[in-house]
Symmetry: C2
Subunit: 342 residues, 2 copies
Amino acid sequence: MANTPSRWSITRRGWLAAAALSTLLSACAPMAPATGADPLPSWNEGANKQRIVEFVRAVTTEGGKDYVAPGDRIAVFDNDGTLWLEYPVYTQVRFVFDRIRVMAPMHPEWKEKEPYKSVIAGDMKGAMAGGTKGILEMLGVAQSGSTTFEFEAIVDQWMKASNDPRFKRPYSELTYQPMQEVLRFLRANGFKTYIVSGGTVDFMRAFTEPVYGIPNEQVIGSRQKFAFEVKDGQPMVMMQPQLEYSDDKEGKPIAIAQIIGKRPIAAFGNSDGDFQMLQWTTAGSGKRLGMIVHHDDAAREYAYDRKSSIGHLAEGLDQYQAMGWGLISMKNDWKVIFSPAK
Amino acid sequence: MANTPSRWSITRRGWLAAAALSTLLSACAPMAPATGADPLPSWNEGANKQRIVEFVRAVTTEGGKDYVAPGDRIAVFDNDGTLWLEYPVYTQVRFVFDRIRVMAPMHPEWKEKEPYKSVIAGDMKGAMAGGTKGILEMLGVAQSGSTTFEFEAIVDQWMKASNDPRFKRPYSELTYQPMQEVLRFLRANGFKTYIVSGGTVDFMRAFTEPVYGIPNEQVIGSRQKFAFEVKDGQPMVMMQPQLEYSDDKEGKPIAIAQIIGKRPIAAFGNSDGDFQMLQWTTAGSGKRLGMIVHHDDAAREYAYDRKSSIGHLAEGLDQYQAMGWGLISMKNDWKVIFSPAK
């Protein structure tokens, strides 16, 4: 992989310009019907592909009973496990652990303090022993004391150097190609695509525009506390260690109502943390689309659901049919899993 | 005025469609230079008009040293006193008082309880006697127990029937025509225009799209607490009486960093509550625009600044020159004040 030109080797500025151009182009042809080339070439033919294509056709057909004006074509996507790899460790947790190791020389006290000690030693089990509380404390330490813009640069640099132990690629190249096609297909049809994820918003903004074509203002996530400070006459918004908002479960529809102020018409998730977002989205009047990505492909990715703490999916499996949602089988619906390196 | 077709007499759906179309048209010509017709016809020639036009020209000139890619062309506007009338009583406070009167028959206890008693009696001085605390308590009562969508309909209905005691027009027609031109001029040049206001976001979203062409997702404001509830199988996001976030002073740059995730390149305000937003915006590298609307026209609107509690402006008057901001004189810079009825 080392000789393949990576998407991340191109400057961020270049990517931002390309993303902006793509936004413009899709805005200029929002009514473009789904004709001609297959908009979802990485999807096998079947009920799930058909459901997505049919939904887009219905809501974009002017004069049709399901027509939705472009301004109301809001689609929301969970990130971890829905758009990119989350198993067996959330990518943001990998970042936090790496960052703790980078910071360790300035914190000699961590040598004797758990879970820092285990993180520094590379003992994953020990690092996880403190549960969510321990991880959030480390996240606060690893992600504070800088502006969001400085922090984005830190994540960007980390991402370029990252290398998944199993797939031997940076995490920015472990996004799901079939979902990338869904994002582009929706945008080509006048949708605004949003990420609504449990990850913290500043972590995601380091890569969502180059990787997904989703600009910062369409990324909703868990939020750390921010503080406004003026230092040497320079006003700055500084990241604080406290987590202020958890964008998970009922936190997802609430954040959507607060920040977007519209009820989405399409929602994609993969775990029970996405249940309320899909529930709220699909209970609206008119045609709606709710889809769950089911991780059932141990050969090409991973297989996990009811018994997993990462991407725990039980309520969704029990209720998706009654709710009228689609259950996407990664094994059967997707021709390929990951996006090609760019 | 009664026989003039009001903008508010047109259906909301029609306005949303028009606004969406206008968004598309501006997105398709984002590089359109400011040539030909005067983009700011309601502005007198002078330093402030020139400053705005020159700023837009500079950041949109490809290859120029001040060029800014469309995705980073973010402009933020305070609402009360910057885009529409705020004096001598914030319009949202007028709404809250009217709503308390509507709710009064279901609350016999209010007859003996201040400040409700004064509000019901139409005694403005008594209604205000409890200060911000009293007003926020009434706001919580007046703006809770419904979904945001139900609430928007309530505000919409109130707005149509509203009638300012001095200007004899609904508040939706008391927006500033020169600022409407700035909004359109910026959007025609590829900017995303955001409202960042102390008003609560759900109140503003009832009118920001039809009145300013600004969609819900570009409205940032103070936030009430929301709760996710499922009633009879119907999931709903319900407005709660508690104010969760105050979008004023340092709360403005913080909310922008959290929700937009980009530092704006242009900011417009009118009071010291906007100081930090202008400060943060204009301290960024590259060309920036900071403008303060100064209410100095008692004949056509009102004159107030240092001594006023509404729209208090002292820090901004003292520092605008050192900060490199423009001070807009409503009296001298604006040919007309209010937008014509539509």
